[in-house]
């Protein structure tokens, strides 16, 4: 494995102001993403897992700059030559995505794309499949109309929508959920990005169709050398799609490790609870359940001590609620945990 990561995220933060009243100034912030750091190697795929409201989707949107980070840096590796062509300044071979603006930001988007969760809402119902898939080429001004048509046809073929001409000039509502998600993949990959953020791309698909889409994403990643940030709430899916998994809780990464390592030897009490709640499709398996209190809250001005303290079954009073939120530390073999008690 290369030691030069493709993406490096350092201390990423996103706070959303909570507005109250008409004229009052805002003092309250939702700490949606709070000091998150990780890196992704070329051709590697990292799973970002957590319950709804944990900040995983916000993290994804920050990485493609649909949102602007409150603090932190997002480094993306780029070739000198490309960077010069696109008018981007490099720092040790990396561009800081968090600071990009205007033209440079637009050019950056040739390298990074996103696949969205909802196959029904992520396509403009008034555009044809051709228009949808060709949109990135069109806005980036790549290729002539003829070339775009050719490229769209190729891409549809790649994602298994054959023959392409029978799909190109249909509308999204004429396609099934699985087919649409294939179109979404074609759109994301049409300008040859090296990094794709997939936000729960299969969570709304039926089981029998889902596996096909998962397979397709892996095949294309191998073929085109793509790295994924795979956002999901489903650990079982993450197991099949990701090399590494990071578990998020209330805006923080609490644990990160190689996939099998994390599933079989979870260290953080939250990860343990989460894993024990996942239903297993095997009636003979009787698992040990770790109960935790309460439910996920919204991180509005959270305390500075461990975020999980209030629900933690093993928390130590006087330690966990006194010290700062524990840092994400390597406990050996690239297994990172943020817990005082591990």
């Amino acid at each position: 494995m290369s030691f030069q990561p493709l993406v490096k995220v350092e201390g990423l933060k996103k706070y959303f102001p909570v507005s109250k009243g008409l004229f009052r100034k805002t003092h309250d912030y939702i700490h949606a993403v709070d000091d998150v750091s990780f890196s992704i190697q070329p051709r590697e795929s990292l799973g970002l897992v957590g319950e709804s409201g944990c900040g995983k989707t916000t993290t994804g949107k920050l990485l493609v700059r649909l949102l602007t980070p409150t603090a932190g840096r997002i480094f993306f590796r780029m070739e000198e030559e490309e960077a010069r062509e696109e008018g981007v300044r490099l720092e040790d071979g990396y561009v800081d995505v968090a600071t990009l603006k205007g033209r440079a930001l637009k050019n950056f988007r040739r390298h990074v794309q996103m696949i969205f969760q909802d196959p029904y809402e992520s396509m403009n119902p008034r555009l044809t499949i051709y228009d949808i898939v060709a949109e990135p080429m069109a806005v980036q001004g790549i290729g002539s109309v003829m070339e775009r048509e050719q490229r769209v046809a190729e891409m549809l073929q790649h994602v298994g929508l054959t023959p392409p001409e029978s799909f190109m000039f249909r509308y999204p509502h004429e396609l099934s959920g699985g087919q649409r998600q294939r179109v979404a993949i074609a759109r994301a990959l049409i300008i040859n990005p090296t990094f794709v953020i997939a936000d729960e791309p299969t969570s709304m698909l039926d089981v029998s169709v889902r596996t096909g889409v998962m397979q397709l994403m892996q095949d294309l990643a191998d073929r085109f050398g793509i790295s994924y940030l795979y956002i999901t709430h489903d650990l079982a899916v993450a197991r099949y799609m990701c090399d590494k998994i990071a578990v998020m809780y209330l805006g923080k990464i609490v644990e990160m490790a190689e996939t099998e390592e994390l599933l079989h030897h979870p260290l953080h009490p939250y990860t343990k609870a989460l894993l024990s709640a996942v239903p297993i499709p095997d009636p003979t398996y009787k698992r040990e359940v770790i109960e935790i209190r309460g439910s996920v809250s919204t991180p509005i001005n959270p305390p500075s001590y461990c975020r999980f303290y209030n629900r933690c079954p093993v928390a130590k009073e006087g330690l966990c609620n006194v010290q700062e939120h524990p840092p994400l530390e390597d406990k050996g073999g690239g297994h990172y945990v943020a817990c005082h008690l591990v």
Binding site: E51, A236, E260, P279
Partner: protein, 324 residues
């Protein structure tokens, strides 16, 4: 085994649409016994929810029941006059809906909506009804004080609990749960499932649990019915379905489903798309996607075969009979 509390025979229901008839439920039969949880698994468009709504006779205008019977205590619910059917709803068969967010009317207090059900069926009135709501709330793990709040003040998990409380309010014989935890996070889902199963055992209700999630159905049900494209393709005990599946679709589904437990198996892909029910495939409806399909699968609908007592499947080439 006790007498079935509900028995469904050859149920067939179509929706008429602009483009033609949608064969939503086709010749579905099963029995539901007291105290058991029957899991109904299927993908979207398999007809699993349509079965539930047909049992309750809560169908939209364009739905037509083409045939079959639903027996409950010797009465065929499908032929009952609407006014009498109304008395069966909630009192005998209650239902938990998928979209907890929208099942409660936003302009009435949650408690009042539960009391309304009880007063309609003469279960309890006034103060007595309020007391019962408080008990129900405690049973499902909600603070009774919440009964005087409006639905928008509840979180998703709380609403689902309130709906469970509402479903139990008239002591139904049968509870239909239609994907009750689909919108919830795993930890909350796990807790609500546990709570629901405890209550089901305590009240000795029969339950039909409808879901697309094979993993959930493995945990909750004693028996499982697998549906595909409007037809019931296989039914049997949970062990039979998971360990000795007979229908090729059941087998493919199990092999396509990822798990975090055990060895990392290779997931097998089922090729193709779900069939269009406007014009379902002839013969076995799974044949266009089935690796084992032969000529007969395209021509003739398979009959149900009994493989084990209570384990039936409709497949021409069941698992384990490769050469047949």
């Amino acid at each position: 085994m006790r007498e079935p509390v509900l028995s469904v025979e050859h149920l067939t229901m179509h929706y008429s649409t602009r483009k033609g008839d949608v064969h939503a439920v086709d010749d579905v039969s099963f029995e539901l016994h007291p105290g058991e949880v029957l899991g109904v698994v299927g993908e979207s468009g398999s007809g699993k929810s349509s079965v539930a709504f047909t049992l309750m006779r809560l169908l939209p205008e364009n739905a037509h029941i083409k045939g079959g019977h639903v027996w409950m205590n010797g009465v065929d619910l499908l032929t009952l006059p609407e006014d009498e059917m109304r008395r069966y709803r909630w009192k005998r068969i209650a239902m938990i809906f998928q979209a907890a967010m929208n099942t409660l009317n936003p302009v009435y207090k949650v408690g009042d909506q539960i009391i309304e059900a009880m007063e309609t069926h003469g279960v309890a009135y006034g103060e007595a009804a309020r007391k019962r709501v408080a008990e129900l709330f405690e049973m499902v793990g909600l603070d009774p004080a919440l009964m005087d709040r409006y639905p928008h003040e509840y979180s998703g998990g709380m609403r689902q609990r309130a709906i469970i409380a509402m479903a139990l309010s008239c002591d139904p014989d049968v509870l239909i749960a239609d994907e009750p935890t689909t919108a919830l996070d795993v930890i909350v889902q796990h807790r609500i499932l546990k709570n629901l199963l405890q209550l089901q055992k305590r009240l000795d209700m029969a339950m039909i649990y409808i879901t697309h999630d094979i993993a959930v159905v493995a945990e909750v049900s004693t028996r499982i019915a697998v549906m595909y494209a409007g037809r019931l393709v296989e039914i049997g005990s949970t062990e039979d379905i998971f360990l000795r599946p007979k229908h090729r679709y059941t087998e493919a589904l199990l092999q396509a489903f990822p798990s975090i437990h055990g060895e990392k198996k290779t997931l097998l892909t089922i090729p193709g798309e779900l069939p269009n029910l406007l014009n379902p495939p002839r013969g076995c409806r799974f044949h266009p996607r089935c690796a084992f399909a032969t000529e007969i699968c395209k021509e003739r609908e398979p009959e149900y075969r009994t493989f084990n007592p209570g384990h039936l499947a409709a497949c021409w080439h069941p698992v384990g009979e490769e050469n047949a």
